[in-house]
């Protein structure tokens, strides 16, 4: 099937089998390998991307279901060579080690902070509990997300 959707601001047209997940479509057809696949059964959160502004597990969505949607991956969050405030905060707090869960953490936290820039620590933990990290023990990730809230508050009119 041929599908058309927007990825990181660009229109794409891809020929896919119906059984292809959005995660595999992004990674292998569009070569956006920043989206990682850690379990393929909807538990680990590494494959989280934004579909029409909402965080979703791209391993639990078929590529054909993205037809007509706007998809943003981790590659689409920082357009230039710099880091976003959220990414900067992750670096400052050492909120990543091996980096494999990181794209999913970043996309999930970005969605959360965009929707709820005033969220508290418990809410951050609740939301991130759908994203597994094996390196950090999460403390630094939660600190990084909380520390990045200020940047999102400013962005809200």
């Amino acid at each position: 099937m041929t599908i058309k959707f927007e990825v990181n601001g660009k229109q794409v047209e891809v020929e896919v089998e119906p059984r292809l997940t959005l995660a595999d479509c992004l990674r292998h057809h569009l070569r956006l390998t920043g989206t990682h696949v850690g379990c393929e059964h909807g538990v680990c959160g590494a494959c989280t991307v934004l579909v029409d502004s909402r965080a979703v597990r791209s391993c639990l969505m078929l590529a054909v279901q993205a037809d007509g949607a706007k998809v943003v991956t981790v590659e689409g969050l920082s357009r230039d060579e710099g880091l976003t405030p959220l990414q900067t905060s992750f670096r400052k707090h050492h909120a990543l080690q091996c980096g494999f869960c990181t794209p999913g953490m970043i996309t999930t936290a970005h969605a959360l902070l965009s929707e709820e820039p005033d969220c508290d620590a418990d809410r951050v933990r609740e939301v991130l509990s759908g994203n597994l990290c094996r390196c950090t023990g999460y403390i630094s990730i939660v600190e990084a997300v909380l520390d990045a809230r200020a940047a999102y508050k400013k962005a809200v009119p």
Partner: protein, 761 residues
């Protein structure tokens, strides 16, 4: 040497690519003509493999080939099928138990490779799996070490026993000491089956260049040089014909990067069909194919004076080894009996460790191998001793901690490998004191056993040592780039711990240049240094970092020599200032020396021992069996912290893995050896909301005398004491019931059962 960057919390250079999705992990690689490998694994735990018929699979469009044992005809192995040799403790006794790269004659665990499908896509390969007919004559499965010990069904008929070996840890004369002892206590305890689950599953991509007789293997991790030696022998190529390439690695924890069957099967497949082949493990496979760890039962007896002074420890540890002896499979079973005494003075020590082969996924190391288990056993015993002898449990520990003047303190020796070990340095009382202070133990401990708002409060304390810095050697090379920057090449590997930043810090200080001058740090691939040893046993800073110092010294000597000639000055007068080389008032840009390179090494056989204390304040809802952490403090002395930010990351990260093992994680099998935890909904990892209240304090009071940096391995201290600390806290919380946890993990169901059993006693 300056001290500008060492000791500073430098933000990691790796992060710039990881945060933007620009890392390159092995599944991110794509080359023309690539075939995808999918592995058919045994669904039967134990049986005779009668036939494998792949004809149905070969009819499927897109299936290129199916490889089975029949395709392997290596003259170096009696069956034609290569065997994965042990890398550590390669004793002749273990040889019959080593794993063939693919099943032939027998299958011995659910998940054992039987066939490899090569297809145009992973999906097509998986379609083909369903069309391969496998006939297995089932045999009685051995699903526990107790069942194994009966030897009624044996995995390896050639030896006739399921016990592959018994390690003996010995010191002094324990039996004699027990005869004289005024007080003894004997306990049976158990730890669950965990593994070093990495968020990135394993992967291998192999490319065979038949014209140039060159095999390139991507996806290497941890020990690429050792794995190249193994692969070269198995596949019949000289080592020089094989290049192992390390990409970004999504976690290690001891499990990733060991040589697994797939590390042969995929290169073999690429050569077999003369096409590049990639295999990416899926999560279900990962749960049953990556090394398991930790499942032990112990029967231990401690002897003390009436004042609590430990006299002796004796007993047995039984390890459930799974079906084969893998590369480093014996490490945990050797460490548990040898290091069970932790930071405590135990004059007489006699613990036997039996290794039982079972029809389960084979074991290997997982962060803190044997030490997590041993610490749990020892710390539980100490709390029971304290209660029996009516001694405060902190005071009991004080009386028995190895004193700072007693280093090097000799630990038990493990036979038959004659493994000696000794501590290096440290003030174990000081980290205990600091931990109690940060924890506010004097006040918080009063809550122990109290029922407040329906929850029992419990306090646990555990002390640990963490072995690190395994030898024998590590290598490093520095080279001047065309633009005058410097590149560091390392023999160690990255498993995500931040070595690119840390080695840059060390190299910059050793050369006395700004850290930006260290352009790249490369590691983990076989082409960049002459030899390397890898990333395990918390050795990267101790061994690799010390090798950087040696390389820097040699680099400066060469630079002085070369610059002295160019500048016409004495070598001693040559200086390096940022990017210029000077002498006698003249300077040249460093880029004039592009290509200048020096390799250094560090040799060491002594281990480092970082050390510290954990303290936990928990609550237990006894009706749910639910444990929550109110506060948890780890104090660890690491000798010298190169980067405090990343050290903290190691401590907290390993702590949460330990807490997972203490209350959540358990790989389960039924009595028929069927694997029951084949998804991440079954094998429960800690999440962001499970353990929110953790604190750590890193001290640098006692540098290690074993290496010029004074550093001690620091990647495992967080995990080692977590099980013992949590179990002690549960016992403390539920003291009114007389509950004594003896098994991990402490799942809600298990904790609830402890309370019921105590009530019914």
């Amino acid at each position: 040497m300056k001290n500008t960057f060492i000791g500073a919390s430098i933000e990691r250079r790796e992060d710039l690519r990881f945060l933007r999705g620009r890392g390159t992990y092995v599944d991110d690689l794509q080359v023309p003509g690539l075939l995808y490998a999918v592995i058919l694994r045994s669904s039967v735990a134990h049986g005779r493999l009668r036939s494998v018929d792949a004809s149905g699979a070969l009819k499927i469009d897109g299936v290129h080939a199916v490889i089975t044992a029949k395709d392997m005809t290596s003259k170096d192995y009696p069956s034609g099928v290569p065997i994965v040799p042990m890398r550590l403790q390669p004793l002749p006794e273990f040889q019959p138990y080593e794993q063939p790269v693919i099943a032939y004659e027998k299958v011995r665990y659910v998940g054992e490779p039987i066939a490899v499908v090569l297809a145009s896509s992973v999906a097509v390969g998986e379609d083909a799996l369903e069309q391969i007919q496998v006939k297995i004559e089932e045999m009685p499965a051995v699903a526990t070490s107790q069942a194994a010990s009966k030897n009624q069904s044996v995995l390896f008929e050639v030896t006739g026993t399921n016990r592959s070996l018994t390690f003996e840890a010995r010191k002094g004369d324990a039996d004699a000491a027990f005869k004289e002892a005024p007080y003894t206590r004997r306990e049976r305890m158990r730890t669950g089956r965990h593994y070093g689950l990495t968020m990135e599953p394993r992967g291998v991509m192999a490319e065979w260049d038949v014209t140039n007789n060159k095999l390139t293997v991507s996806g290497a991790a941890k020990v690429p040089f050792a794995n190249r030696r193994i692969l070269a022998k198995q596949i019949g190529l000289p080592e020089s014909a094989i290049e192992m390439i390390e990409n970004d690695v999504g976690g290690g924890y001891g499990a990733r990067g060991e040589f697994y069957p797939e590390d042969f099967l995929i290169p073999f497949a690429a050569m077999h069909v003369n096409r590049p082949v990639k295999w990416i493990e899926d999560r279900r496979e990962n749960l049953m194919a990556m090394n398991h760890a930790r499942e032990t039962e112990a029967d231990l007896e401690i002897a003390c004076q009436r004042d609590g002074t430990i006299i002796a420890l004796r007993g047995e540890v039984h390890t459930d080894m799974g079906a084969y002896m893998r590369t480093n499979g014996a490490v945990g079973a050797r460490n548990a009996p040898q290091f069970v005494t932790g930071p405590y003075r135990v004059p007489h020590h006699k613990v036997d460790s039996h290794l039982w082969m079972t029809n389960k996924t084979p074991v290997g190391t997982y962060r803190g191998p044997g030490r997590f288990e041993g610490c749990f056993y020892m710390e539980r015993l100490l709390d029971m001793v304290a209660a029996d002898l009516n001694i405060d449990r902190i005071e009991l520990r004080r009386r028995n901690l190895i004193g700072k003047a007693e280093h090097p303190y000799k630990l038990a020796t493990a036979q038959p490998t004659n493994a000696h070990d000794q501590t290096d340095s440290g003030d174990y009382q000081a980290t205990l004191d600091r931990c109690l202070k940060e924890f506010n133990y004097a006040d918080v401990s009063k809550l122990g056993g109290k029922l407040i708002d329906g929850k029992y409060h419990g306090i646990g304390v555990s002390c640990f040592i963490e072995g690190g810095g395994a030898g024998p050697k590590e290598s490093s090379r520095l080279e001047v780039n065309d633009d005058g920057t410097i590149t560091v090449y390392m023999g160690t590997a990255s498993v995500g711990q931040g070595v690119e930043t840390i080695y840059a810090q060390i190299a910059a200080d050793a050369l006395e240049v700004p850290i930006e001058r260290i352009r790249h740090v490369y590691h983990g691939s076989t082409g960049i240094v002459s030899d390397g040893y890898g990333a395990y046993h918390s050795r990267s800073v101790v061994m690799g970092g010390s090798a950087v110092l040696d390389a820097a010294e040699k680099f400066m000597a060469l630079l002085r020599q070369a610059a002295g000639k160019r500048l016409g000055c004495a070598e001693a007068k040559v200086t390096l200032d940022v990017d210029r080389v000077g002498g006698d008032g003249i300077t040249l840009p460093l880029k004039e020396f592009a290509g200048l390179t020096a390799e250094g090494a560090f040799l060491n056989h002594k281990h480092t021992y970082s050390y510290g204390t954990h303290a936990a304040h928990i609550t237990v809802d006894a009706r749910l069996g639910h444990i929550e952490i109110v506060d948890y403090v780890v104090v660890q002395d690491v000798g010298r912290a190169i980067n405090p930010l990343t050290v903290r990351g190691q401590v907290i990260g390993s702590l949460v893995q330990g807490l997972g093992g203490a209350v959540l994680e358990d790989l389960k099998y039924d009595a028929q050896g069927q694997f029951l935890t084949g998804s991440l909904a079954d094998y429960l990892l800690p999440t962001a909301s499970d353990f929110p209240n953790l604190r750590c304090f890193v001290t640098e009071d006692h540098p290690s005398p074993t290496n010029p940096l004074g550093a001690k391995g620091a990647g495992e201290g967080g995990i080692v004491a977590a099980g013992g600390c949590m179990a002690n806290a549960v016992a403390n919380a539920l003291q009114s019931f007389g509950v004594q946890p003896r098994d991990l993990p402490l799942s809600p169901s298990a904790v609830w059962q402890l309370v019921q059993d105590a009530r019914n006693r």
